[in-house]
């Protein structure tokens, strides 16, 4: 099976619950064999979209293709997808072995082959010697491994993850991120991963589909999303702290604050929202005057919250680890090719730099 066979094509996929429009119509192509993350705030319709791909939720209208097949009217088992759930959803009355092997049992795989595949699948996620335990006897991380093993045992062409790491603690989560990336490289299934955590999205994804209110805000590679956000929503959703957005005015040669302070030299005329990442702001002896409001020293770098002339807030990330006293004044400079301009009313990106 070539990779292109496992691509997922969504065409005008819509979902309504009663009068409530959850997904107003998504058209997108999810690349076969790649790791795609669907990212968005809670309630943006990302889990609904995943469930529609899986077949756990019906589509109101539109088509879903997996490879060459149109699947939106097929039962989940006919779509060749496997899924890892947020709260693991392990069968509590079955041993780990039977949990992993249930899909094979339903499919009527002979017992001998079943045993071998269960063992191989369990070992590939690092479950040793736990096959005869019950889920209630396992830790959260172990349960997550069982859930992953259960999903990959059928060698699915599409692997769906519904916020699988959000029940784990921070340290475990990082380890699992690494393992999931390795697993993906090894089995090469088309992976679709739903999360609200931008760190997971940035680290795992080949491509991120950022949803807001059921619509795609931007669908691009993580670095693209970070550096060239298509809208102010993307700019503020990705990155911690988020991209700074300043209301400013272009006079044809530069972007200035209402009081006339020059922020960046860009040939633009009219009201504009200027976006700049905190780490693209440098503290310099002579530049845009700022007044410190609050600062955090994180060891590796510090975050300074400052106010510019007209009271707009600015987050500055600086490798100079020093704590500033509130009220202290300093000046900054924007790294100019990192500044992005947005339309102040629509929030859309204005120019491509």
């Amino acid at each position: 099976m070539t990779l292109a066979d496992n691509s997922i094509a969504l065409h005008e996929v819509r979902k309504t619950f009663g009068d409530n429009l959850v997904v107003p119509g998504i058209t997108a192509e999810i690349d076969g064999g790649k790791f795609t993350v669907i990212l968005g705030p809670s309630g943006c319709g990302k889990s609904t979209l995943l469930n529609m791909i899986a077949g756990l939720e019906s589509v109101t209208s539109g088509t879903i293709r997996i490879g060459a097949r149109e699947v939106q009217d097929l039962a989940p088992k006919e779509r060749g997808c496997a899924m890892v759930f947020q709260n693991y959803a392990l069968y509590p009355h079955m041993t780990v072995r039977n949990n992993i092997g249930y899909a094979l049992k339903v499919a009527g795989v002979p017992k001998r082959e079943r045993c071998e595949r269960i063992k191989a699948s369990a070992e590939s996620v690092g479950l040793h010697g736990l096959l005869d335990r019950r889920p209630s006897e396992l830790s959260g991380g172990q349960r997550q491994r069982v859930a992953v093993a259960r999903a990959i045992v059928r060698e699915p062409s599409v692997l769906l993850y519904d916020e699988p790491l959000s029940n784990l603690d921070a340290k475990l989560r990082q380890g699992m991120r690494m393992e999931l990336t390795r697993l993906h490289e090894r089995i090469g299934a088309t992976s679709v991963f739903v999360t609200h955590d931008q760190v997971e999205a940035m680290t795992l994804a080949d491509r991120i589909m950022l949803l807001n209110n059921g619509e795609i805000e931007q669908y691009a590679a993580p670095s693209d999303l970070y550096e060239n956000p298509a809208t102010t929503f993307v700019a503020t959703f990705i990155g911690a702290p988020a991209m700074n957005l300043l209301n400013a005015e272009g006079d044809g040669s530069g972007i200035r604050l209402p009081n006339g302070t020059l922020l960046a030299t860009m040939p633009f005329r009219g009201p504009v929202t200027l976006g700049i990442r905190p780490e693209s702001i440098e503290i310099v002896p002579d530049g845009i005057p700022c007044r410190n409001v609050y600062s955090e020293d994180l060891g590796s770098h510090s975050i300074i919250v400052a106010e510019v002339a007209d009271g707009q807030k600015l987050h500055v990330a600086t490798p100079l680890c020093r704590r500033m006293t509130p009220g202290e004044t300093f000046s900054v400079r924007f790294v100019e090719d990192a500044a992005r301009l947005f339309d102040p009313t629509s929030g859309k990106r204005l120019q491509s730099t």
């Binding site: 039962a75 899909a103 339903v106």
Partner: protein, 309 residues
């Protein structure tokens, strides 16, 4: 009997949950004492007296009694009418709970899948719980009346095919149906709540694993419902032995020809109508032992119950 079992099961759960919540022996005792007094007065003392009387020959209208050892037991156990009643009780104990739980399970599975009108059905099915056993009996006598009831058309086709007043089998069926009707609401609630406690995610996971709705019932829902099934099983089993009394008394009075004379009703007739107090006490003791053995056997089944969640 039923309420006592519920109490014991409930008490065990609560004890593990709230250990250390109450301080001081006094508060423990003051909480437990009222129910303890009731259980002792209306359960342990009568049972103890029944065992005691079963070794004496009692006079029907009071006065002295005579110790007779195991003679009462000899008399009762050699009476074919006792064995008939015992046998009927056993059949009743298997048929009525089996159907009452089976039908409740089907209804609960359907209601849980939220098929059409299941919302309304959930409420309606529970209503019969509010009707007393004796009232159910009166209503069912009318419903199964050979000339006016629902089976009257059968008698028009072939006269005499349905008449619970003279046909023992028909009478037995009528009592069984009434008992099942009486048992469904409670079982339905227990089983439905058990089904709804199974996380939705499990059904979705099983669907992703390729398991269809019917297969999910067998592989997922029934195993996870075993605690509730076991509870209804124990309660129904014991309940049929004692609760059928109200139905039999209003519907058939044990007849026709003793066809519906279950042990619990026979004891009542022997003791309070025929004034054979010793015989009734002996049969009570035997019934008691029979129920205890049954319950012990049932609890051996508990190792198949899956409590993991």
């Amino acid at each position: 009997m039923r309420s006592r079992l519920v109490l014991v099961a409930g008490a065990a759960r609560i004890a593990s949950m709230t250990r250390g919540f109450y301080t001081g022996r006094l508060s423990y005792w003051s909480l437990v004492l009222p129910i303890l007094v009731l259980i002792v007065m209306f359960f342990y003392i009568p049972v103890a007296l029944a065992f005691f009387w079963s070794f004496f020959l009692e006079r029907p209208f009071g006065g002295g009694s005579e110790f007779v050892g195991f003679q009462n037991y000899g008399r009762v156990l050699s009476d074919p009418e006792f064995w008939n009643a015992m046998w009927r009780t056993l059949i009743f104990m298997v048929v009525a709970p089996g159907l009452a739980i089976g039908l409740s399970l089907i209804l609960a599975l359907a209601a849980d899948r939220s098929i059409r009108i299941s919302q309304a059905a959930r409420n309606i099915i529970i209503w019969p719980k509010a009707v007393a056993g004796a009232s159910i009996g009166v209503v069912f006598v009318f419903i199964f009346n050979p000339f006016l009831g629902i089976f009257a058309p059968l008698n028009e086709i072939s006269p005499g095919i349905w008449n619970p007043r003279i046909d023992g089998a028909d009478a037995f069926i009528t009592v069984v149906i009434a008992q099942i009707w009486n048992g469904i609401p409670f079982n339905f609630i227990i089983l439905l709540s058990g089904l709804q406690a199974i996380p939705d995610m499990l059904a979705k996971a099983a669907a992703m694993d390729g398991s269809g709705p019917w297969r999910r019932i067998v592989d997922l829902q029934l195993p996870l419902l075993t605690p509730q099934l076991f509870l209804t099983f124990v309660l129904e089993f014991v309940g049929t032995v004692v609760e059928a009394f109200g139905l039999i008394d209003t519907m058939t009075e044990g007849g026709p020809g003793g066809a519906t004379n279950l042990l619990i009703y026979k004891i009542y007739v022997d003791g309070f109508k025929a004034y054979d107090l010793s015989g009734a006490a002996t049969q009570t003791a035997l019934l008691m032992m029979f129920v205890i053995v049954m319950v012990i056997l049932q609890f051996r089944l508990e190792r198949f119950v899956k409590y993991e969640r």
